[in-house]
């Protein structure tokens, strides 16, 4: 068995006493809050409007919230659609610094950090948990740095932790407008036009938000520790996703080709560790998910 296999500290699922979600106003945080509340688990949400995690004061405010035996899900980040510059990079690191300061000396029951597959380079063989992180962007570097910052603090308090590295997430409630299913569906419904770089040849895995939330819930119930990539084993080209959406909305949407700025790259995952860790989870097929997504949008 792979030496990087995550471990479940709870042999049987057990509800955590309370889950503190940093970034509860974001795409993932909001969906997770809803799911936990529906599952009867107490949630303490922390939105940027409540506490600005970039501010040095936030460490004190967070310390007032954190209780021993809390579970903390760190899902707060300034995403690339809001900035890709050095200033954004530093603000994201400040968040991690402040959270780390707040965690000093507090032994939590469990912590989950939502990282990103941006820690991986492009054009790799099918990515596993053994694939070395080599971020090509400062956004990916930021996530890798935050993983390490948090690990160094959590190790001192012996807090069990899990790092999840999801691929691009799509679905209803998305606050971003990144290139992929979200943007394509919205522009098909609005402008009746989908803009692709080249012919959209690049293949990428796409993760439906409900699938990620199901995995997060399982990880919370089982107190899973270690490192997991979260991505389906099948990757689709942006061109094929656009065509699926065009068939789905059936409103005469056309494709517009834009000049690509870089070479065509692909990304595939081999999610064996994820399947072993959570054998009951399943990835919603893209077509099914797009149907659901469309229903919720309209």
């Amino acid at each position: 068995m792979d030496s990087n296999m995550p471990q479940h500290l709870n042999k049987q699922p057990s509800k955590p006493r309370r889950v503190v979600i940093l970034g509860s106003g974001g795409f993932i945080g909001r969906k997770l809050s809803e799911k936990l509340a529906a599952s009867g688990i107490e949630v303490q949400g922390v939105r940027s409007s409540d506490i600005n995690l970039c501010s040095a004061d936030s460490a004190v405010a967070l310390r007032a919230i954190f209780r021993p035996d809390d579970v903390v899900v760190f899902a707060a980040a300034i995403t690339p659609d809001k900035g890709k510059d050095v200033r954004t990079f530093m603000r994201n690191l400040q968040m991690a610094e402040n959270v780390a300061t707040a965690l000093e000396g507090i032994a939590l029951s469990h912590m989950i950090y939502i990282s990103s597959d941006a820690v991986f380079a492009d054009d790799l063989p099918p990515i596993t948990e053994s694939t070395p992180a080599d971020p090509p962007t400062i956004y990916g570097l930021m996530h890798l740095a935050r993983e390490k910052i948090l690990a160094s603090v959590l190790e001192k308090t012996k807090t069990p932790s899990l790092v999840l590295r999801p691929c691009t997430i799509y679905g209803p409630g998305d606050t971003h407008d990144s290139y992929g299913p979200n943007r394509f569906l919205r522009s098909a419904l609005g402008e009746r036009k989908i803009k692709l770089f080249g012919q959209g040849e690049e293949k990428r895995p796409q993760l439906y938000i409900h699938d990620l939330i199901a995995i997060l819930l399982e990880a919370l119930l089982r107190r899973t520790t270690g490192l997991l990539n979260v991505a389906p084993g099948e990757s689709a080209s942006f061109g094929s996703i656009a065509q699926q959406i065009i068939r789905l909305v059936n409103n005469g949407t056309s494709v517009e080709s834009m000049t690509r700025s870089g070479p065509v790259t692909h990304r595939h995952f081999a999610p064996s560790n994820l399947l072993r860790a959570f054998p009951r989870i399943s990835f919603t097929p893209l077509e099914t998910a797009l149907h659901q997504f469309l229903r919720e949008l309209t």
Partner: protein, 445 residues
């Protein structure tokens, strides 16, 4: 030296290696002392009860029983002119060799070896071991033995008897390869009628790893190309015939795709090289890639199961044919079947294997049955994890009658693909896309 001692050869350490080589030596007409400290093992071997399954082993025992004497008494080693240390070196979960049992065995019997005896290490030692061990024992004054050699073993699980009786060559590591072999060892070596290659200890120790590296290279290359075949509608079987007729590749090349590396020996040698290379500053990235590819291909069945079955049924039941890591053996070391079983604890599993019987309650929702069709009873999918030849004889129609689902994962192509499709099965094998209709023979290695 008296003629009786001259013609007597001892084997100390009776695991798979010692059992097969001691009987092969008896078959060559030598008197054999087979020694092991395990009383129960020695008793069983004396009665012809073997802890390993190998084709031809029982016949070899019956035919040569009169020339082999099993004992726990190391003092009987004094009766032999040639002594083989033949304990298999086991590996841990990460494929690191554990040499301690062999070292303990050597130290425990060192004082029973007389000055005229020739000693041969047959165990799978790491490069540098032989020279280091001999120097240590001689320095401590506990080693009276004459010449000491290391001999490469190239047994294959499932073909061990054939390989022990008919090696294609014998590779012998020597302190100095120049002098002739002592008479007892020369006679033994020449009895096999094949080329004898003396070389330095270190060269021989690394020769074994080198052989396995080329096998791994072929297997991994085949697996890598076979995967692309699966994606583009090519059939690796058709390509194989072209490769086998290429003189640089050859008719016996390891070209059959498989579920990664298993059995333990290849994995051990990769890890040994990696550890040594890491310490000595040698590039080991290729080895890392082989290891990663092996883990990836091992999960071929798991990925297909998730894609085609596990996400669409609430309580699926899986039939598994084969638990051994390959056909004609009862070894399950790094077996893809066991890794699969451990990966799906929540799934009902019904397994059949002609040789392997796992202890009860070793895995959740797992039961073993005594025939292939019983494993298929009410199953949603069938995974054929070991290419036992007898699986080819099972009727697809009877499989269909027994199963409730229509999914067959047959990595080694044991069943008739065309018939399986005619019976309504979704059928998958290594090295071919779902629509391939070319029949393939079974594995020949």
């Amino acid at each position: 030296m008296d003629s009786s001692k001259m013609n007597t050869i001892a084997f100390i350490g009776l695991s798979h290696l010692g059992i097969n080589y001691s009987l092969a030596t008896a078959a060559k007409g030598f008197e054999v002392i087979a020694c092991d400290p395990d009383q129960a093992l020695v008793q069983n071997l004396s009665d012809g009860k073997f802890p390993v399954a190998e084709p031809g082993l029982e016949e070899l025992f019956s035919e040569n029983r009169r020339r082999i004497h099993y004992t726990v008494n190391p003092d009987e080693l004094k009766l032999a002119s040639l002594i083989f240390f033949s304990l298999d070196v086991k590996t841990d979960a990460n494929n690191h060799s554990d040499l301690q049992p062999l070292c303990r065995l050597i130290e425990s019997v060192a004082s029973h070896i007389t000055s005229g005896s020739t000693v041969v290490f047959l165990s799978q030692v790491t490069p540098g071991f032989t020279r280091r061990m001999v120097a240590q024992l001689r320095n401590e004054g506990r080693w009276q033995a004459g010449a000491v050699y290391y001999q490469v073993e190239t047994l294959i699980f499932g073909r061990a008897v054939e390989r022990a009786l008919h090696p294609e060559r014998l590779i012998v590591g020597c302190a100095d390869p120049t002098p002739p072999f002592p008479e007892p060892y020369r006679r033994w070596l020449e009895s096999f009628g094949c080329p004898i290659l003396p070389m330095r200890y270190e060269s021989a120790e690394l020769a074994k790893i080198s052989i396995n590296f080329f096998l791994v290279s072929s297997v991994t290359t085949s697996n890598t190309l076979a995967e692309l075949c699966e994606k583009i509608g090519a059939d690796w079987l058709e390509i194989q015939s072209a490769l086998r007729l290429d003189a640089r590749i050859g008719p016996k090349a390891y070209l059959n795709p498989g579920l990664g590396l298993s059995g333990g020996n290849l994995e051990r040698d990769l890890q040994t090289f990696r550890d040594m290379a890491n310490e000595l500053g040698v590039d080991w990235r290729l080895v890392e890639a082989w290891q990663a590819n092996s883990r990836y291909r091992r999960d071929w069945v798991l990925r297909l199961l998730f894609h085609h079955l596990l996400t669409s049924l609430d309580s699926p039941r899986l039939a598994i044919w084969g638990l051994a890591y390959k056909e004609n053996t009862n070894s399950t070391r790094n077996s893809a079947a066991l890794v699969l079983i451990e990966s799906i604890p929540h799934i009902e599993k019904q397994a059949y294997d002609p040789q392997v019987r796992l202890p009860d309650n070793t895995h959740p929702k797992f039961r073993q049955v005594s025939e292939p069709l019983a494993a298929c009873r009410e199953a949603d999918a069938l995974a054929i994890m070991t290419p036992w030849p007898q699986f080819k004889d099972v009727s697809i129609m009877e499989v269909r009658s027994a199963m409730r689902g229509r999914l067959i994962l047959d990595p080694y192509g044991m069943l008739d693909e065309t018939k399986a499709r005619q019976e309504g099965f979704a059928y998958f094998k290594l090295g071919a896309g779902e629509q391939s209709t070319v029949n393939r023979p079974g594995c020949d290695d």
